[in-house]
């Protein structure tokens, strides 16, 4: 129940904030895109850390460790690229909405225990990766003007799609 509502809330926040950006005149700029990508990655690392700390389920902990490792590797690549391109990531409404929704989600997860936590964490991982993939495909990749940034986002999309399938697999095992 709560998962559905929180996911819907996250979706509403995310899409409400990206909708204006989707208009041609307000396409996110490369510095904003870099900030959104970095924020999205960091959110998943924070969630993974919480799961590693709280979960007793080996599959869930292994999954969380995979997420932490991959997203840290992607973030390092992203930071190396913005440095090389001399781009300063710029905070924006989409990043703010993502961070706010993630903070609320973490607070909800922190109150859960055992199997309830595991299920809520994994279901949120499926939903979260789905949302980020949607944003990458429809907004961030098409808006990126620098070829290297676009290429990094395209690889990021493949990684996130892999994570979504991985999360779905773990969710299936928890049932």
């Amino acid at each position: 129940m709560f998962m559905r509502s929180s996911t819907a809330a996250l979706a509403a926040l995310f899409f409400a904030s990206t909708a204006p950006l989707a208009q041609a005149a307000e396409k996110p700029t490369d510095p904003q895109i870099a900030h959104i990508a970095y924020t999205a990655d960091t959110i998943d690392i924070e969630a993974a850390k919480l799961a590693i700390k709280k979960s007793k389920n080996k599959e869930v902990v292994d999954f969380a460790k995979d997420m932490e490792r991959d997203h840290e590797a992607v973030n390092k690549q992203a930071l190396d690229l913005v440095k090389k391109l001399k781009v300063t990531p710029e905070d924006n409404d989409t990043s703010k909405a993502l961070a706010k929704a993630a903070k609320e989600e973490r607070a909800k997860l922190a109150k859960l225990k055992g199997a309830d936590f595991d299920k809520a964490y994994i279901e949120n991982e499926v939903a979260y990766h789905k949302q980020v993939n949607g944003a990458l495909e429809t907004l961030l990749i098409p808006s990126a003007s620098n070829a290297e940034l676009k290429s990094l986002l395209e690889t990021g999309l493949k990684i996130f799609q892999g994570h979504e399938q991985h999360a779905e697999h773990v969710a299936g095992m928890l049932k």
Binding site: R69, K158, Q161, Q165, H169
Partner: protein
Amino acid sequence: MRPLLLAPALALALGASPALAATIEVTIDKLVFSPANVQAKVGDTIEWTNKDVLAHTATVKGGWDVMIPAKSTGKVTLKAAGAVDYFCRFHPNMKGHVEVAP
């Protein structure tokens, strides 16, 4: 004299199979196995070279499970004939296929 003559022949016969075994190279770049389809023989080795900054695996359901760390390699020696599909456990959207001849 006879045993002396036999020894190299025996060594050759015993060594024949590994000597003919090939190593098949597969590259991983941006979450893609390339080539995605390979043909091999029993005794051959597949070696994956991972150019990504992410760890991957080459995993067959109910079969081999090879860890391929970031910027590193991993390998498996094929022991059974048959066609197998493999994937990466961390990114199940990565898929490959091996046909192993006897």
